[in-house]
């Protein structure tokens, strides 16, 4: 099984996004690197708008991820509510 991953620049917004990912993806593994953080999840990684909003305490448009993300791995699907990266293997 391959890992889907996403990496963010470290800042206050991405801290909340990472918390949301950890909550919604029980198998998530966090790799803390200088000035960035990378999160791997076997096969499928999902970011849910509602959870991010809960962590941030404000409304959040998933397209705001563009501002913080550094790299991704996996087939992407983005809707208003979910940002999903997955591998078909």
């Amino acid at each position: 099984m391959s890992n889907a991953f996403i990496a963010f620049q470290k800042n206050d917004d991405s801290r909340c996004i990472v918390e949301a990912i950890l909550e919604d993806n029980p198998n998530a593994m966090v790799d803390d690197q200088p000035s960035m953080v990378k999160i791997d999840v076997p096969n499928r990684l999902v970011i849910k708008r509602e959870t991010v909003e809960e962590k941030m305490g404000r409304s959040f448009d998933l397209q705001e991820l563009q501002l913080h993300l550094i790299t991704i791995s996996g087939n992407l699907d983005e809707t208003d509510d979910e940002f999903t990266l997955s591998w078909n293997s």
């Binding site: 690197q33 705001e64 790299t71 991704i72 699907d77 809707t79 293997s89």
Partner: protein, 514 residues
């Protein structure tokens, strides 16, 4: 009057309305005449509407987020520059990695901008056209921000100001130039595999992620903000490349062998280009975070492996070169650094022998190769330098006809033997650095016999500054090569004893004492 506010459109509806809905099929001329480039490579497409950008990014949202990225980036750059940030990097050796990185990358970004502008015109479908146009603007942004980032360093350090002139002339910049020249002169689909897949997915993941994370660790906020800001666009670019590959494979089974050949070719070309990034990570960052080998395993072996496994459902197999790249990950960064160390009179950045503790770090990270093959060479050079005999190879290198890397890589399975291959085409002999480059050459010899290799051309009198009479009886090819390159002579030679080294020490002293 109806005052009820209309419901905000969802992402999918907005994307459909603002990309495909704004496009139209031509009627004065047939579509295949308006888009003539997308058929000659043999790729068969039946329904362009099947291509959708999974980010579903529309132009209005694109401008909004890109302008926000720019504001952040320039705020950091201004703060860094106003605060004498260049003196807060780990040590002055670090500046040399910027000379290499920021001296070689902006012209490639510009080529990518040109290439994607062409793709934005040539692709039949509205989905890929819009995504390619966005990528063209991104690449232009990277080109500009990298130059803005280097301009502050250029005020203080030597050898950074002629990168645009040197791009087409300098021996060690030829490999990157050839990568983009090869891609942009291919058809549109091959270009998408070359840049969207090999460059974005294989290369930038190492250059802009662990290397830039390392730049941040070395106190360089300017390179960090430029690198991460660029890479936030690359996530979109990788997605575009991956979508293009899936799209071709889903449209027609006849596309499979063509796509497979491109994946084989460009995975290898990307690998060769990465050798220099390896040495940047292993030798040029004074504070190291991760070895090139570890980065390779994370971003190429695991991440690339995941992609190839995913594409197996279409019949794609792991690229032929993959096994060799895994063997080479323990060698190429050392071979590159030693290669550059041996030419102190021919680069606008300095080289040096790693300190004893840095050599120990390399031994630990490369337990199978460093002590056995590379430490003895570096220690020999070190002893020679201390005896006043700093190694200086004054000959021109020989370059591979395909990847234009200097010939320095080893024979597979034998690190003590240098690898050369040759092909005969129309009675002339052409050299390549590996089986994979030879295969690329043999498949399209008419293309690669045209490669401009400056270190070969110089011998034919084609690399001289203006005003030199190449027919004069006493003409010596290459005698004025430094002027042809417009190479800043203060930037030559070993780091030890360089003007940069002295200035940095003096300025840092000034910055911390009264």
């Amino acid at each position: 009057m109806d005052m009820k506010a209309s419901k905000k459109l969802g992402l999918k509806e907005r994307y459909a309305l603002m990309t495909r809905d704004l496009a139209w099929n031509t009627t004065y001329q047939p579509m295949d005449k308006v888009f003539p480039q997308t058929t000659y490579e043999g790729i068969k497409i039946h329904d362009w509407d099947k291509w959708e950008d999974p980010f579903r990014l529309t132009m209005d949202a694109y401008w909004k987020y890109q302008s926000e990225k720019e504001r952040k980036l320039y705020a950091i750059l201004d703060g860094f520059n106003q605060n004498n940030g260049h003196l807060s990097v780990t040590d002055a050796r670090y500046i040399n990695v910027l000379k290499l990185f920021l001296g070689s990358t902006p012209p490639l970004e510009l080529m990518a901008a040109r290439g994607f502008s062409m793709m934005g015109r040539q692709m039949n479908g509205a989905g890929p056209r819009v995504a390619c146009q966005m990528q063209a603007v991104d690449e232009y942004r990277h080109f500009q921000t990298q130059i803005h980032s280097i301009s502050n360093y250029n005020k203080y350090y030597n050898g950074m100001d002629e990168f645009a002139h040197q791009q087409s002339r300098m021996w060690y910049l030829s490999d990157g130039k050839s990568f983009f020249d090869d891609a942009i002169t291919a058809g549109p689909f091959e270009f998408m595999v070359a840049i969207g897949f090999a460059f974005e997915y294989v290369l930038t993941n190492i250059l802009f992620v662990p290397f830039i994370s390392g730049a941040a660790y070395n106190g360089d906020m300017a390179a960090m903000t430029v690198g991460f800001s660029a890479q936030s666009d690359e996530a979109r670019h990788m997605t575009l490349g991956l979508e293009c590959i899936k799209f071709m494979l889903e449209q027609d089974p006849d596309n499979l062998p063509i796509v497979q050949r491109w994946i084989d070719k460009w995975t290898w070309r990307g690998t060769r280009k990465l050798a220099a990034v390896g040495m940047m990570m292993d030798y040029m960052l004074p504070k190291r975070i991760m070895s090139f080998k570890e980065a390779w395993e994370m971003y190429v072996e695991e991440n690339g492996g995941a992609l190839f496994k995913d594409l197996a459902r279409y019949g794609i197999t792991i690229p032929k070169c993959f096994g060799q790249t895994i063997e080479e990950k323990e060698h190429v960064s050392h071979q590159s650094w030693i290669g550059f160390y041996m030419k102190p009179g021919a680069t606008p950045f300095h080289t040096w022998i790693p300190t004893p503790d840095e050599m120990d770090w390399l031994s630990e990270k490369y337990p199978n190769t460093f002590d056995k093959y590379y430490r003895p060479v570096l220690e020999f050079f070190d002893a020679q330098e201390k005896a006043g005999n700093r190694f200086d190879n004054k000959t021109a290198p020989m370059n591979c006809q395909v990847c234009v890397s200097t010939m320095k890589f080893n024979e597979p399975g034998d690190p003590m033997e240098m690898c050369f291959r040759e092909s005969i085409y129309k009675g002339e002999k052409f050299h390549t650095c590996s089986d994979h480059c030879k295969e690329i050459f043999d498949n399209e010899p008419e293309k690669y016999i045209q490669t401009f290799i400056s270190s070969h051309q110089v011998l034919q009198g084609n690399c001289e500054p203006e005003g030199v009479d190449v027919n004069a009886p006493d003409f010596q090819p290459g005698k004025q090569i430094l002027d042809y390159w417009k190479l800043d002579k203060r930037a030559l030679g070993d780091f030890n004893g360089s003007e940069d080294q002295k200035n940095f020490a003096a300025w840092r002293e000034q910055a911390t004492k009264n």
